[in-house]
């Protein structure tokens, strides 16, 4: 009887969507490591990975395979349960955010409407905000459980940094929310339909440039990317919280970091750069077959994501690292007041326009 009540089409649809997203995030994370090495090489006038395959394209596979065969070392003094639990949690939270991202427009398939979004919960933005705050646990638990002074310092640095920048991030999102009036990511994307409407741009970036800037800085800080990579500052802390990790557990940490970068690039393009919308999409949808439209939307979305990932990398290899007191000062004394001011200005402008 139980089997009858499950909507099998729904289950299969969601399961295949989740698997696809998982595999795509893995592939993108793997090739992001390759791209990072290439970008750094180009910026430093080196060649970068070049031996495995053409342009070193097989390098990520070699690296991944190597991680599986590496010996696993758990320090004698470590807290074993939390030591293993840390990287799993980090990976799971990295993947959780992908649930609410609309990857493309809905389409018809075998008489059903297939939505390219794992869960269309109507508080998507708040969900993203919540899962981001969960992300800090993986680092905090892993670093603490290693029982190593470097790791512990790194984990507490990461935690303080993450919570400080979360506030500014939330405040910059509120200013955006006042414009959209909805927390659902699907609806936010639909509002940014096309590129130009009623004599103004539809993408939120043009309405909230300051908000986007604050969000971007906070995203760098939440991702522990340079110039905010204090938790894993290799010259001070020996890679920080994953110092004691080896084998696949280290792999999970490294992969999850790149998946985080991928997902936050997706969130940024959904919130500020129109997600899967692009100029002239109405023409494509009217004149070309439906599958071309869906495919083009998804590709545009991924192009935006990859552009953001490359941007993250350029910044990493350009700017030097902050000092910790500068980091805290920037977060609490500059970004939070700036975000509050942005919010009030947005509120004023909205009321002035609706009058």
């Amino acid at each position: 009887m139980l089997l009858m009540q499950i909507d099998w089409f729904f289950l299969v649809e969601k399961l295949s969507l989740i698997t696809t997203i998982l595999l795509i995030s893995l592939a993108i994370a793997a090739y992001a490591t390759w791209a990072e090495r290439k970008v750094s090489a180009i910026m430093q006038d080196r060649i970068g990975p070049s031996r495995a395959g053409i342009f070193g394209l097989l390098q990520p596979l070699a690296d991944g395979g190597k991680l599986f065969f590496k010996e696993e070392i758990i320090p004698t003094n470590a807290n074993k349960f939390i030591f293993i639990f840390g990287p799993c949690l980090f990976m799971t939270t990295a993947l959780m955010t992908s649930a609410v991202i609309p990857w493309g427009p809905s389409f018809e398939f075998a008489g059903h409407t297939v939505s390219l979004q794992v869960a269309d919960i109507n508080i998507g933005m708040l969900f993203v905000f919540g899962v981001v705050s969960l992300g800090v646990y993986g680092i905090m638990l892993g670093g603490w459980a290693s029982n190593n002074k470097f790791s512990l310092l790194s984990s507490i640095r990461a935690a303080s940094q993450a919570i400080s920048y979360e506030l500014a991030m939330g405040l910059s999102l509120i200013a955006l929310l006042m414009l959209t009036g909805s927390l659902s990511l699907r609806e936010i994307v639909d509002q940014q339909h096309g590129f130009w409407n009623d004599g103004y741009f539809t993408w939120n970036f043009f309405k909230q440039p300051l908000g986007f800037f604050i969000f971007l800085v906070c995203a760098f800080a939440e991702l522990n990317r340079a110039p905010f990579d204090l938790p894993e500052a290799d010259s001070e802390l020996n890679m920080g919280y994953h110092l004691e990790y080896s084998s696949m557990k280290l792999g999970l940490y490294l992969f999850a970091e790149y998946i985080n970068m991928f997902i936050s690039s997706a969130v940024m393009s959904v919130l500020f750069f129109g997600g899967y919308n692009y100029p002239g999409m109405d023409w494509v949808s009217a004149n070309l077959p439906a599958w071309v439209f869906t495919f083009s939307c998804v590709s545009v979305f991924f192009i935006k994501i990859i552009a953001f990932i490359l941007f993250f990398m350029f910044i990493r290899w350009t700017l030097p690292r902050f000092r910790y007191d500068q980091l805290m000062k920037l977060g609490w004394k500059s970004l939070i007041p700036l975000a509050l001011v942005n919010m009030l200005i947005t509120g004023g402008v909205i009321l002035w326009l609706t009058k």
């Binding site: 799971t92 993947l95 939330g170």
Partner: protein, 116 residues
């Protein structure tokens, strides 16, 4: 159906992470000795435990964070409806934020936001 799908996603994520660890545990070679289990610090034997008491400054930031986090949560429903409520809504939030801004100012003047 949101809860079911989210749980499905969590299960997939855990299966993926756990699967990777178990696979590498199964195929990797293992050997152990005393030196290998030591903390990877400087090469010389480490002194003292790592789980030491931390500076209270970190805790202070966490406390202030929590207060503002709760404030943020109250502002989300406000932001959704500010368009329809109009001027009254803006005045209400300005009062709300003014009171909290006093708190931030107090923290600033007391030096709580100063690092160390």
């Amino acid at each position: 159906m949101g809860a079911g799908v989210l749980i499905l996603l969590i299960i997939c994520g855990v299966a993926f992470a756990g699967g990777g660890i178990i696979l590498s545990w199964a195929i990797a070679k293992r050997s152990t000795n005393l030196v290998k289990g030591e903390p990877y610090e400087c090469g010389i034997p480490t002194s003292g435990t790592s789980w030491i008491q931390f500076n209270v400054g970190y805790y202070l930031f966490a406390l202030i964070f929590l207060v503002f986090d709760v404030e943020l949560v109250f502002m989300y429903p406000w932001a959704v409806v500010v368009k329809s409520v109009g001027m009254v809504g803006l005045v209400e939030i300005v009062i709300f934020m003014f009171i909290l801004f006093m708190g931030l100012l107090y923290a600033y003047r007391k030096g709580a936001l100063k690092w160390m």
